[in-house]
């Protein structure tokens, strides 16, 4: 609000276009989702109230547990790797290398492609019988790797594609964080005889910790919502061994039209992400203040 202007009318008016659309397309669906999670509804039928039955059903559904586990697995693999990769890339592009501008472009470029493009590309590269990776391996005398068709490797293959695709985004955040550290801090450390690793350990890493927390929270939320790469690259296969929770929500809602069940599952995912984020914020935030 403009100082001295006590008229709230302008404020409300200016935010109204956004608020109306926000309420209509975000708040209303959110509340409606909660409401419908207590019903049995296939979009075309009249919703039938079924109390907590959808939620109770969830806890007896083995596929729900396996899908949730695959999501957690994906979060546990991708989050640390993507943070370290993003940080390492940021170090490279803020360093003294003459190639740093080129590197910045190259590292960030994959991120601007849409998910479908990236996932399709990697699915072809990793195709077992005709993909270029296996063609190279075979021509070097190796045997074909079941990148996407073996239940042990498939999730890792999806993760590799994800690393290539999204690490650039973390790099941008870390680069901004590193550039904010005053040059004088490094200069005085160097005068005192600190080497590169000491500077890294005692200056850079502690001083970008704000960015690290931000990246961590964003990354965990993004990884919990993983769906596209998995759906395009493996279709949740082989034999459902990479089906993630959002995919199971999608299948129930939009392929089998069990809207209530699917909404109930979304709310469980929502609660999990909420808890994890709050936990991270509280734990890491408190450490900061000490």
């Amino acid at each position: 609000m403009i100082p001295g202007n006590k008229d709230t009318r302008d404020g409300i008016l200016f935010s109204l276009p956004f608020l109306v659309i926000f309420a209509l397309f975000m708040v209303y669906p959110l509340l409606f989702g909660l409401y419908i999670s207590f019903f049995k509804w296939n979009i075309l039928s009249t919703p039938q109230f079924c109390g907590m039955q959808n939620y109770i059903g969830l806890f007896h559904d083995q596929k729900f547990y396996t899908s949730l586990w695959h999501t957690v697995e994906f979060v546990l693999i991708t989050t640390p790797v993507l943070l370290v990769m993003g940080f390492a890339m940021a170090l490279a592009v803020t360093g003294k290398s003459p190639l740093r501008d080129l590197m910045e472009t190259v590292f960030f470029l994959p991120y601007i492609f849409s998910m479908t493009v990236v996932a399709t590309l990697w699915a072809w590269l990793m195709q077992k019988d005709f993909g270029i990776f296996n063609q190279v391996i075979v021509s070097l005398g190796g045997s074909r790797v079941s990148w996407l068709t073996n239940d042990k490797w498939a999730i890792w293959s999806v993760c590799i594609a994800t690393f290539w695709w999204t690490a650039g985004f973390n790099m941008v955040l870390f680069t901004a964080g590193i550039k904010q550290i005053p040059k004088e801090v490094y200069e005085s450390a160097q005068i005192d005889g600190a080497n590169y690793w000491q500077c890294l350990n005692h200056i850079t890493i502690p001083l970008v910790s704000h960015t690290t927390i931000l990246c961590l929270i964003l990354q965990v939320i993004a990884s919990f919502n993983v769906f596209g790469q998995v759906y395009v690259m493996t279709g949740g296969g082989p034999a459902g061994s990479t089906r993630v929770l959002v995919q199971y929500i999608y299948e129930n809602g939009f392929q089998y039209f069990k809207m209530g069940y699917s909404a109930a599952m979304s709310y469980i995912l929502f609660i999990i992400v909420l808890l994890v984020s709050v936990l991270q914020y509280v734990l890491l935030g408190r450490k900061k203040e000490e």
């Binding site: 009318r9 409300i12 008016l13 109204l16 276009p17 109306v20 659309i21 209509l24 296939n42 979009i43 075309l44 039928s45 059903g57 699915a123 195709q127 077992k128 019988d129 005709f130 079941s146 996407l148 068709t149 073996n150 493996t234 279709g235 949740g236 296969g237 082989p238 034999a239 459902g240 299948e251 939009f254 392929q255 089998y256 039209f257 069990k258």
Partner: protein
């Protein structure tokens, strides 16, 4: 006062922005001139171009109706269709697989067609696919085609291996495939068994067919329980498993696209897929292949899983009788020109089409047109899509990991019964 007026104005403007799109579309096109019809096509698997060509031909053939065709990606088609039907704003004509009709019939989303279609037209349809579109005595759609799973085989490989008789039973297939492997070093079979672009549906389709060939069925007659956890099921699953693991004549971890590619490149002798593959396979240079109905692996009748595309008319908020009449004409024309649709590989449903010289002149199609006689439609039930997808996952695991057939089927029975109980 002034304040609240301007507030209201802004609100109205904002609402206009949000809903303006909708009101524009809802305006009825009641002016004179040709009736404009809309259609969403789900044909993206190589058959789309043939469908578009038919629609063009229809538009050229008369002046009263203009059909506007929009292609929707197959994966999203039913999502889009269901939401449009819920809003009663679906296109004037829709395509729906026979197996999916039951999702839309009970809640009155589709218009019963009995009073619009003449008896002579109905009599021209083959009985089985037409009666599959009837529910509670009412006709809800007309079948455009049937598309069973059939067998393709590479004539050059068979010749090279010295096989001059097409195997006619499960055991003969084992023998033939072993011979092919010994003499040519190529794969005997290319049955896809892992998830890629699609799930391992071919496994479910073959398993489903083999159950019926042995005199059993996938589900019980009332569709209430699984019916495959028995000797028939074990025989079928063991055959599918053994070809990969015991005899090693079918590649393991083979996905749909790779299986198709393998057959295209001449690396596999026998290939099983829906008739829709014909249009793609015949375009491959130097591939000397033939098509035949699915052989009787067991017994004497080659029952084969089949799907059917049907055309229906959705119930609209304001149903325009002129549009309904035009839509019926369109459906009649499309089914009556099935020989054009057969170019995509599908089998026509009208007797007059099968008699046409234009159809008989098409290569391959006539060879498997007889498959329509032993076409086994999947059960009509809302739960089928989930059963179909889940069974494909479980059969994939059983075949690729060589699980014990008894244990695998017992587990699959439990899962399928659980799915049915939830609908």
């Amino acid at each position: 006062m002034k304040k609240s007026v301007s507030l209201l104005l802004v609100l109205a403007l904002a609402m206009g922005l949000v809903f303006g799109q909708g009101t524009k579309e809802a305006a009825p096109a009641a002016q004179a001139g040709p009736v404009e019809l809309t259609f969403w096509s789900l044909f993206t698997g190589g058959d789309g171009e043939f469908f578009d060509a038919m629609v063009d031909e229809f538009n050229k053939s008369q002046k009263e109706i203009v059909m506007k065709n929009d292609t929707v990606k197959f994966d999203n088609y039913y999502t889009k269709l269901t939401t449009a039907l819920a809003a009663k704003k679906a296109p004037d004509v829709i395509v729906c697989h026979q197996a999916n009709l039951l999702n839309y019939v009970p809640n009155g989303s589709l218009l019963p067609l009995d009073e619009y279609v003449s008896k002579t037209t109905l009599d021209d349809f083959q009985t089985a696919p037409l009666s599959a579109c009837r529910f509670g005595g009412k006709l809800y759609s007309l079948p455009l085609d049937v598309h069973p799973i059939v067998m393709y085989y590479n004539k050059d490989i068979l010749k090279q291996a010295g096989i001059d008789k097409i195997p006619a039973s499960a055991d003969e297939f084992v023998a033939a495939c072993k011979t092919i492997k010994e003499k040519t070093g190529k794969w005997g079979l290319a049955i896809d068994n892992t998830t890629g672009t699609y799930k391992a549906y071919t496994l479910t389709r073959l398993f489903f067919s083999m159950m019926i060939q042995q005199g059993g069925s996938f589900l019980t007659a009332d569709n209430k329980k699984a019916n495959f956890n028995n000797a028939y099921g074990e025989t079928a699953l063991n055959w599918l498993k053994d070809m990969v693991n015991k005899y090693q004549v079918n590649p393991n971890e083979l996905d749909y696209d790779a299986a198709m590619n393998m057959f295209k490149l001449g690396d596999a002798a026998f290939y099983f897929n829906g008739v829709w593959a014909t249009g793609t396979l015949e375009k491959v240079d130097g591939l000397n292949f033939a098509a035949s109905p699915l052989p009787a692996f067991y017994g004497t009748e080659g029952w084969a899983w089949c799907g059917s595309h049907t055309l229906a008319i959705p119930v609209q908020e304001n149903q325009d009788p002129k549009k309904v009449a035009a839509a019926v004409k369109f459906i009649d024309w499309m089914t009556a020109h099935g020989e054009m649709w057969a170019k995509a590989g599908h089998i026509p449903t009208r007797k007059s089409v099968v008699e046409k010289d234009a159809f008989k002149a098409l290569p391959y199609r006539a060879d498997y047109a007889g498959a329509a006689k032993y076409a086994a439609a999947p059960p009509s039930m809302a739960a089928w899509d989930e059963i179909y997808g889940t069974s494909s996952d479980l059969l994939e695991a059983a075949v690729t990991k060589n699980q014990d057939a008894k244990t695998a089927l017992a587990n699959m029975e439990k899962v399928v019964n659980g799915i049915i109980a939830k609908y």
